[in-house]
């Protein structure tokens, strides 16, 4: 079995004594496409920056390709790509020069890929960066992060400035290109539908901790909406184990249950003397319920 590209254990970060991330552990295996979800201030950017070694962890450790990410050697850096939330391009240069400058740092650069994507994304390589629209700059920023075909590509809200049509097509292409075979992608986004569509693994950050991690199917099976229909009024003291929220209305009730499993259904139905119906939620619904 391949060793994980990224492995974090008990990772934590504080700023001025105030914790922004605590006790986070995870791994990213070759081929994983990880979507990171969380409310504003949940610690998404901090987590990605810790993975990339921009800042030292105040607790635990994170390793990238087996190296301490804060002391990443050059050969490991050549295998990482990063697209920041706000582009960091040089305004005075043309897009071609910007790509050329960044390309010169890497031993290998896929000119064919960058050329093809720039045509498909309609990025004018002769245009000066300062004259580009926000969306064009973001596309260029991604080209710069992709060109060396990194084994791990980390994107911090990469498509926030694109319109929905461009976003959908564009993100799919990034994943296709960046996550082929043994390459991995970790991306954070506020757009839950993008994560649902593209990610093979989901991390949900809540209250500075890794609240949930795993594949989307497991999450959908784990967090469900439960409809209870009884022939007589349900008791006022009705309790459903692991319910995040419970609404009762005479003979019916609806609950959002976390940690649901098939065996629980039969036991609960018998206990309540009611008919149970399980409704699976979309990722957006799950996300909203978890943060309610």
């Amino acid at each position: 079995m391949n060793s994980p590209y990224i492995a974090a254990r008990g990772l934590g970060k504080s700023f001025g004594g105030k914790p922004v991330l605590a006790d986070v552990s995870f791994t990213v295996e070759p081929g994983d496409v990880v979507g990171v979800l969380g409310k504003n201030g949940a610690g998404k950017t901090t987590l990605l920056e810790l993975v990339l070694g921009f800042t030292p962890a105040t607790a635990g450790s994170v390793q990238l390709f087996g190296y301490d990410s804060y002391r990443l050697p050059g050969k490991a850096k050549a295998r990482v790509g990063f697209v920041p939330q706000q582009d960091e391009l040089v305004n005075q240069l043309t897009a071609a020069d910007q790509i050329g400058v960044i390309a010169s740092f890497y031993p290998k650069w896929d000119d064919e890929l960058v050329g093809r994507l720039s045509r498909e994304w309609e990025v004018d390589l002769n245009q000066r960066v300062k004259n580009m629209s926000v969306g064009q700059r973001q596309k260029l920023s991604i080209l710069v992060g992709l060109g060396h075909r990194p084994d791990v590509l980390i994107l911090d809200e990469p498509v926030a400035s694109l319109d929905p049509v461009a976003r959908r097509q564009f993100l799919e292409q990034i994943i296709e290109v960046a996550a082929d075979g043994n390459r991995s992608v970790v991306f954070s986004s506020h757009i839950v539908s993008d994560v649902e569509r593209l990610a093979s693994k989901i991390w949900i950050l809540k209250d500075r901790r890794m609240y949930w991690q795993g594949d989307f199917d497991s999450l959908k099976d784990s967090v469900v909406r439960l409809h209870v229909r009884a022939t007589s009024p349900l008791p006022a003291s009705l309790e459903i184990p692991n319910a995040l929220r419970l609404e009762r209305n005479g003979t019916t009730a609806a609950a959002i249950v976390q940690g649901w499993h098939a065996q629980a259904q039969e036991a609960l139905a018998q206990g309540l003397g009611a008919e149970l119906e399980i409704e699976q939620l979309t990722l957006e619904e799950i996300f909203l319920e978890l943060h309610r």
């Binding site: 850096k77 050549a78 240069l93 400058v101």
Partner: protein
């Protein structure tokens, strides 16, 4: 190596204008030096028949100098690009990014100095001077001054009072060092080499260790901020938003570069009147803080009920309050230096007026920056700077008639009023869409 070469190439050719300047510098520098070498001008003056007309000889004579100047300004993208890459997240993930970026800056400075030294040496090739020594002196002085020049551009480009303060300190050194070694050729080269090595060592150490220094520097900034108190006090909203809340930082900070310049200039036995010249330059630098006013004023426009014209008057008043501190310190220093070095009373009196005019002009030029800086703005700034320098020379020279100095200072006062009117009009039709932070930062640089 590939990355370093690419970065150097981009510094020189990143924009069409820089490509032109660099190419012009190469052609004029090499071509001019070759012409001087093979078709030496001014042969008529040495008893030989003249080959060219006087105008042609002047062109041949000045061509290498023009080429040299062009080549020095060719890599003008270096400070801006260095600053952008240095502050980006890319530098953390680019393989050996920090080292390569630093090496590219050092190599660019060395390349520029090498070109300058080669041109100067070729220039003097047919003279009886010792060429090795000329090359060595020219290289050492060019290397140090170019290094300091780029550090100034980088620091001032970062914006903020501290950047300007350190920039003004470095600028004094930039002006003092080469003049000293040009003026006194017998001076040892140990000092410029030491200054250059020290500058690069400090810069490289700070730059390479920046990721490690982030946390302790953050704590230091926090402590300093706690010590100096809050920049915001009730009723001081304008000062807080446009950055004039702490006038003492810049005013007191001027003392450091001036103290260092005092040391250097006293060792070089400079005439005391040179002080008027240097203090005038410092007054211009400190006034440049105003170039960020329009961008910062955006926040005021959104929150207050003032018209654009009213906003201009309030910002103008805030900057004059701010400038009173910096100008006050400069005037006190001039009086103190003048008293201790027995500066002529006339130079002292007109010098004080000139400092006030320098501050006023630079403040109003700063306030004219309400959009991307164009060639007209750049030309105006250069003209004002040259006019101030010229006046400073006249003020310092005992041979200049008083009426000439008065005429110059009245001319500068009139120019201040014209530039103020220009700034007022620009603020009156200020387009906040065109007034963006990056524009202002470039302008301050």
């Amino acid at each position: 190596m590939k990355a370093i070469a690419r970065l150097i190439y981009t510094y020189f050719t990143g924009t069409p204008l820089l490509r032109f300047i660099t190419l012009a510098g190469l052609v004029a520098g090499i071509g001019g030096a070759a012409l001087n070498l093979y078709l030496p001008p001014l042969t008529g003056g040495s008893g030989n028949p003249a080959r060219f007309s006087l105008a042609q000889e002047a062109v041949i004579f000045l061509l290498p100098v023009a080429g040299l100047l062009c080549f020095v300004f060719g890599p003008s993208l270096l400070p801006a690009m260095f600053a952008r890459l240095a502050s980006s997240h890319h530098l953390y993930v680019l393989p050996h990014g920090r080292t390569k970026l630093l090496a590219s800056a050092l190599a660019t400075v060395a390349l520029t100095a090498l070109f300058a030294a080669a041109i100067v040496t070729l220039y003097y090739y047919k003279t009886p001077l010792v060429l090795d020594l000329i090359f060595e002196r020219a290289f050492a002085v060019s290397f140090v001054t170019t290094s300091f020049l780029y550090v100034v551009l980088w620091l001032t480009g970062k914006g903020g009072a501290i950047g300007l303060l350190v920039g003004s300190f470095v600028m004094v050194a930039t002006l003092v060092l080469p003049l000293r070694f040009i003026a006194i050729p017998s001076t040892s080269l140990a000092m410029p080499w030491t200054a250059g090595a020290l500058l690069w060592t400090i810069f490289a150490t700070g730059f390479l260790l920046a990721p490690r220094l982030d946390a302790p520097l953050g704590r230091l900034r926090q402590t300093l901020s706690e010590l100096t108190g809050s920049t915001y006090r009730g009723g001081g909203e304008i000062d807080f938003l446009i950055g004039t809340a702490r006038p003492w930082t810049l005013a007191a900070g001027q003392i450091v570069p001036i103290a260092i310049a005092t040391y250097v200039m006293s060792r070089a036995s400079w005439a005391p009147v040179a002080w008027v010249f240097f203090l005038t330059i410092i007054s211009v630098t400190t006034g440049a803080v105003a170039s960020l006013a329009a961008t910062r004023g955006r926040a005021l426009w959104l929150r207050a009920r003032w018209t654009r014209a009213e906003l201009f008057h309030r910002v103008e008043n805030a900057f004059w309050r701010y400038n009173c501190y910096t100008l006050g310190v400069l005037l006190l220093l001039l009086v103190g230096i003048g008293d201790s070095l027995a500066l002529p009373t006339r130079a002292l009196a007109f010098g004080m007026g000139l400092l006030a005019l320098g501050t006023a002009l630079s403040t109003y030029i700063g306030l004219t920056v309400t959009a991307r800086i164009g060639w007209r703005d750049a030309a105006l700034a250069v003209i004002v700077m040259l006019a101030l320098m010229r006046t400073a020379v006249h003020v310092s020279s005992p041979a200049t008639p008083t009426t000439t100095i008065v005429a110059y200072e009245i001319g500068l006062a009139a120019l201040s009023l014209i530039v103020r009117e220009l700034a007022r009009r620009r603020w009156g039709r200020l387009d906040w869409m065109l007034c963006r932070p990056d524009t202002a930062v470039r302008a301050s640089a």
